[in-house]
């Protein structure tokens, strides 16, 4: 069947079962938008800024098992999308971005709205390609979805010049992709897994350290089964929250810079560390030299060989898909019929319970002023711990990660790697599209929310009933905290002057806005918000301006060198 390039693009997206396409039209993609108009299978969501299109597609992918998809025009369309692409790249999120390009004859001529999209995005995509022939579109899009979703997932950009979308050719969608240069390892090496199982059985002080790879490979059930069978303590990273039930007593909470005392101490002093889909990044282990001071055996499961022995030398590397490797581990463990030394494990748990007794997450609540931790705890109670929670970046992100206990995977959406302020609302949008009936809360701050505030308009257009939990302290809170700790209280440019009245701003966009400044009103406001099933409610909580995130490991310090409260400063 002979189709135009634009028709082929849409047919490909239909074949890939793309439900929602987040995008923004422009000159170079007009043919594609014309074809979108003529069909109903792929539903387009018009955002107000291309950055939000990619964030929303990214959130759609994070909260489901599917690939997110975005469509932007050439030039500024692509440069606006770059932040979204880099965010997805750093967290290994499968997204396909279709970008328009100036006509092939104009490429390199400094044409209107021309930018070297493939060049600009190259360092922050898993792969990208410029299509110069209409006959290549179908194969390229098939390849893009395949590459985005397999191996270590990531964003793939397909750049299509305008004239190519107008040319015609015969269309057939490839059934499969075969690439000699791209064949990710899925199954782990059974010999390595055997070694790992033996190490785990012999461990006296074991510790499981699980990251975002568990979520991405949909292996939370397998991980939970294994950890339960072994009775080991476990810590889930910022990206891995929900990979093991956060309310389970075996969970020690989050590790790292703002991790719990017990998680960090256990990471440091265990004798066998089982890293599952985690990458020992600087926010998790702090100074690698300090981490290496204590001898321990490390098992590392990761689908990306380059993640292994990058920052920390490991003893048993296992390259493979986390889910497949855990399946094999469980199978081998059951085959041995053995269990770890119960006595040693009991002694280890006793030590952990001592660390736990420090109660590092305690904070002084107040009747006068709203404490941010209290808001998150109430949010958790009101939503029964079962909402989808997105966050922006900063103090509120850490409080949300610390005080909202995630029991299920794909419920917690945040920019862990790139730390992109502004993702919160677009993430909530993408998530709400993917889960129309479910409660979606966006935990944010007055600074982050303003970075994509225009999306309140998108939320109105599509009637997205998201709940915005704005922890408003009038400061770039995390910047202020660092300035307080490390820069002699010189709050250079971290005070947010001239803030809008957020409740009224929300109302101006046609939403519901609430301002809350008394601790006694927090729960009621949250209940009221979640009762409104069809409204976006913007909850502007006026919180304590001086509150800091504890515990804290300073950048470059060792994992156990924690500041537990203001008394340690």
């Amino acid at each position: 069947m002979v189709l135009t390039g634009a028709e082929i693009v849409i047919r490909c997206l239909q074949e890939e079962k793309v439900e929602y396409l987040f995008g923004y039209p422009g000159g170079a993609v007009l043919h594609i938008y014309d074809e979108l108009f003529k069909q109903e299978k792929v539903r387009h969501v018009l955002v107000r800024h291309e950055q939000a299109a990619v964030h929303a597609a990214d959130a759609y992918a994070r909260s489901t098992e599917k690939v997110g998809c975005a469509l932007v025009t050439s030039g500024p369309g692509v440069t606006n999308a770059v932040t979204g692409i880099a965010t997805a790249y750093m967290d290994s999120i499968p997204v396909v971005i279709i970008s328009g390009q100036v006509p092939t004859g104009a490429i390199g001529q400094d044409a209107f709205q021309e930018v070297d999209s493939v060049g600009i995005t190259r360092p922050c995509v898993k792969h990208n390609m410029l299509i110069k022939d209409v006959r290549d579109i179908a194969a390229a899009i098939k390849k893009a979805f395949h590459i985005a979703a397999t191996g270590r997932p990531g964003p793939v950009l397909v750049d299509i010049p305008k004239d190519v979308t107008a040319q015609k050719c015969d269309f057939s969608y490839p059934k499969s992709v075969a690439m000699r240069s791209y064949n990710p390892v899925i199954k782990g090496h059974t010999g390595q897994i055997k070694k790992a199982v033996q190490l785990m059985l012999d461990a006296k002080r074991p510790m499981v350290y699980a990251g975002g790879g568990v979520i991405l490979s949909d292996a939370a059930d397998r991980l939970t089964k294994l950890v339960k069978a072994l009775g080991f303590p476990i810590t889930n990273t910022l990206m891995g929250l929900g990979g093991f039930p956060g309310t389970d007593p075996q969970s020690l909470g989050m590790p790292g810079m703002h991790g719990t005392y017990e998680a960090n101490m256990s990471m440091q002093y265990c004798d066998v560390l089982i890293a599952v889909g985690a990458r020992f990044d600087d926010r998790v282990i702090g100074d690698p030299a300090h981490f290496a001071q204590v001898a321990r055996k490390i098992i590392h499961i990761d689908i990306d060989p380059s993640s292994i022995s990058k920052r920390v030398k490991v003893d048993v590397p296992i390259v493979g898909n986390v889910g497949d490797v855990l399946d094999e581990m469980i199978r081998q463990l059951e085959a041995t019929g053995e269990r770890p030394d119960a006595e040693a494990l009991g002694t280890w748990w006793k030590q952990i319970d001592e660390w736990r007794a420090r109660d590092c997450m305690k904070y002084k609540n107040s009747d006068e002023i709203i404490k941010p931790q209290f808001v998150i705890q109430k949010l958790w109670e009101v939503t029964k711990g079962d909402a989808f929670v997105t966050s922006d970046v900063g103090q509120h992100q850490m409080w949300a990660a610390q005080y909202y206990k995630f029991d299920k995977p794909r419920r917690w959406l945040n920019s862990g790697g790139l730390g992109t302020m502004g993702v919160g609302m677009p993430y909530a949008m993408g998530c709400q599209f993917a889960h129309p009936g479910s409660p979606v809360a966006c935990v944010t701050g007055e600074a982050s929310i303003q970075m994509c505030i225009q999306e309140l308009s998108t939320c109105k257009q599509y009637r997205l009933p998201i709940k915005i939990v704005n922890l408003n302290n009038r400061y770039l809170g995390m910047v202020r905290q660092w300035q307080e700790f490390f820069h002699g209280n010189r709050y250079s440019e971290s005070y947010m002057d001239s803030l809008p009245n957020f409740a009224k701003l929300a109302e101006a966009y046609g939403h519901v806005g609430l301002e809350i400044d008394k601790p006694g009103d927090v729960e009621g406001a949250l209940r009221e918000a979640f009762k409104r099933k069809t409204d976006l409610v913007f909850l502007d909580f006026k919180i304590d301006q001086t509150e800091n995130v504890y515990p804290m490991v300073q950048g470059g310090k060792g994992l156990t060198e924690m500041i537990l409260s203001s008394e340690d400063l």
Binding site: V118, G119, R122, P123, K126, H127, M129, L130, I147, M179, R180, S181, Y182, D304, P305, S306, I308, S309, K310
Partner: protein
């Protein structure tokens, strides 16, 4: 430590930038880089000389393997291999220097491939150190121009890099 990394990659637009981009983005160093299509025109062979600790070179090979267009990577310097580089060098060749240049070319088994009344262009192949020695051996002031290809490498005997 100096390493000679050899790779096969798809002969596609942008593949070279993807490789060089990875080096600069991650702060790895490139001493030289050569690339050309193989007997199979859909595939290119690249030789990269880089300097780094074993850990860094391990990361380099892993990161190279991660690039979607890269088919295979080996660190040739892990075992017996051959390195060759080609140099074209233009020198002033007048008076007594003319005879001397000819003699030096013979000693280094180079060939004179272009002759004018006052200049020679010589072609030399060999390891990078041999070419360095040639430059050291002749009078610096007589060198007009040098062009070097960078190192190409291949494993000895049964060490074969192909798909």
């Amino acid at each position: 430590m100096r390493h000679v990394i050899s790779l096969l990659l798809e002969n596609e637009a942008g593949a070279l930038s993807r490789v060089s981009n990875m080096f600069s983005a991650r702060g790895y160093n490139i001493e030289s880089l050569t690339v050309a299509p193989t007997e199979d025109p859909s595939m290119s062979r690249m030789t990269i000389v880089s300097i780094g600790s074993d850990d860094v070179v391990e990361q380099i090979t892993k990161q190279l393997n991660k690039l979607v267009e890269v088919v295979k990577v080996v660190d040739l310097s892990e075992a017996a291999h051959i390195e060759r580089e080609l140099m074209l060098i233009k020198v002033r060749a007048t008076g007594k220097d003319r005879e001397e240049m000819k003699r030096m070319a013979d000693i280094f088994r180079g060939r004179i491939v272009d002759v004018t009344e006052s200049t020679y262009v010589m072609e030399l192949t060999g390891s990078a150190t041999k070419l360095d020695s040639f430059i050291e051996a002749i009078d610096r002031s007589l060198i007009l121009e040098t062009v070097r290809t960078g190192v190409s490498g291949i494993g000895r005997g049964d060490r074969i890099l192909r798909i």
